[in-house]
């Protein structure tokens, strides 16, 4: 089975053809925003990082930024820096040039300030856009697809309708040779035994327990009860009582395949099939990590409704109940709530999600894209000064 994608120089496949204006440090965020505004058709992000990172946080930030900028949905990237930061445009350029990514570099201090940097940046972004517009979609086997799965603003119905339906779609993609990322480590706590039974080998099983133990150790060190954060107040209002209950419903998104690998935040999977990414549960942080890890489409289930999107990758939203679908229709692509009314089954909605993934990968625009949702966040490991 094929979808229509953009084949990049590296061989990686894009589902979108964006020109990204990316500040490598917060000090360049406003200038990047001004350039993007001056060149319609480009996308940009803001973040609060790029300087002061120490030890493994530095590597973590570079991996996340380089993964995001070198992503096959990005036809070309303008890297904007200030000039004196830790993570300069040159640092990211060195990483993404290995995979043949098209980039330009701009430094505000070297250009002599905001106005001159925006003027130069505008002409560089226009050049990148002109080149990007030459790219054409071509048929690509769906085994080239990596989808990210996420759930946010969950309720108890998420685990009964939307998540198991997404699980059906995940199993279909894995059966076709594709890759599915299951993420949000805190929401694996209490469901490790279910995942461990499906681990491909002892090393993977050990890693599953290691990543959840690390989160639990953090909570214990803080001396707090995780409830209130996980489940969140909205989750609890929606009927989720404990983290264990939330997790058991959340992991259904990944389907029932063997778990091939456990990877770090923003790392690219080297195995196909179902892969766990060790990531915070924070929705935008998790999406950004999966995108940096090469996800070309994200499927996001929600019970209480969320508008979240991503700057360079389409996010398909699936509602768990018809009430939220009716209230937030403009934000939702597929309603799994019909399963409760008996109008549909988990399997039939799962097949619909699978078809939607293929169509969206081939260019169909999602609700989040129509509305301009482009949330972006990288988490800090707390190793910054």
């Amino acid at each position: 089975m094929n979808f229509m994608g953009y084949r990049r120089k590296s061989g990686a496949i894009g589902t979108r053809n964006h020109v990204l204006v990316f500040p490598t440090v917060i000090c360049a965020s406003a200038v990047a925003g001004m350039i993007s505004k001056a060149v319609p058709g480009t996308v940009t992000v803001t973040h609060s990082h790029g300087c002061g990172h120490m030890a493994e946080e530095k590597e973590h930030m570079i991996r996340a930024m380089a993964g995001f900028c070198g992503h096959p949905n990005v036809a070309g990237v303008l890297l904007v820096g200030l000039g004196c930061e830790l993570i300069t445009p040159e640092v990211i350029a060195e990483e993404i040039t290995k995979a043949g990514q098209r980039f330009e570099v701009l430094n505000i201090q070297a250009e002599g300030g905001t106005t001159a940097a925006v003027r130069k940046g505008k002409s560089l972004a226009e050049k990148l856009l002109k080149e990007a517009n030459r790219a054409r979609r071509e048929p690509v086997d769906i085994s080239e697809l990596i989808i990210g799965t996420n759930c946010g603003a969950s309720d108890t119905l998420s685990g009964l309708t939307a998540n198991p339906a997404l699980g059906v779609a995940s199993d279909m993609l894995v059966a076709a040779g594709g890759t599915v990322l299951l993420s949000e480590t805190p929401e694996l706590i209490g469901a490790e035994q279910v995942l461990a039974r499906r681990a491909a080998g002892e090393a993977v099983k050990k890693r599953i327990w290691e990543i959840t133990s690390a989160v639990e150790a953090l909570v214990k060190k803080a001396g707090v009860d995780i409830r209130g954060s996980e489940p969140s107040p909205g989750n609890i209002e929606g009927g989720l009582t404990t983290l264990e209950e939330k997790s058991l419903g959340a992991v259904l998104k990944g389907g029932t395949s063997k778990i091939r690998q456990v990877i770090c935040y923003a790392e690219k999977p080297s195995e196909k099939g179902l892969v766990i990414m060790d990531s915070p549960a924070h929705d935008a942080v998790c999406n950004t990590g999966m995108i940096a890890g090469s996800a070309q489409v994200i499927v996001f289930t929600t019970g209480r409704g969320t508008p979240l999107g991503a700057p360079t990758v389409p996010v398909i939203k699936v509602s768990s109940n018809s009430g939220i679908y009716q209230r937030m229709k403009e934000n939702i692509d597929i309603n799994a709530g019909d399963i409760l009314d008996g109008a549909e089954t988990i399997e039939s909605v799962g097949e619909r999600i699978f078809r939607e993934i293929i169509e969206v990968a081939s260019g169909k625009i999602t609700r989040a894209e129509i509305l301009g949702h482009a949330e972006f966040a990288i988490h800090s490991l707390g190793l910054a000064v």
């Binding site: 108890t156 009964l160 209490g190 009860d225 009582t241 058991l248």
Partner: protein
Amino acid sequence: MSVAALVLNIKDNVATAVRPLNHGDGIDVAVGDKVVNVVLLQAIPFGHKFALRDIENGGQIFKYGEKIGQATVRIKKGEHVHIHNVEGLRGRGDIP
């Protein structure tokens, strides 16, 4: 009338209401190939859980066939099961 509540695994001792249910309602719940009748002792909001049988103080709560927490008081069949009578045991840095 559409289904009132769902049970996911025969091990489960709670059901999830898939529409708002009233105090005093007699609900037939499918548990595997059997049907269990539960008279609700409280109103159950949409998406919330109620007990399928009596659960002792300290007893495990099962959903998806897995443990989701522990009863902090005795819970009667038909009672609302939520944070007021169940606690999670994971991520508890508040317990020494």
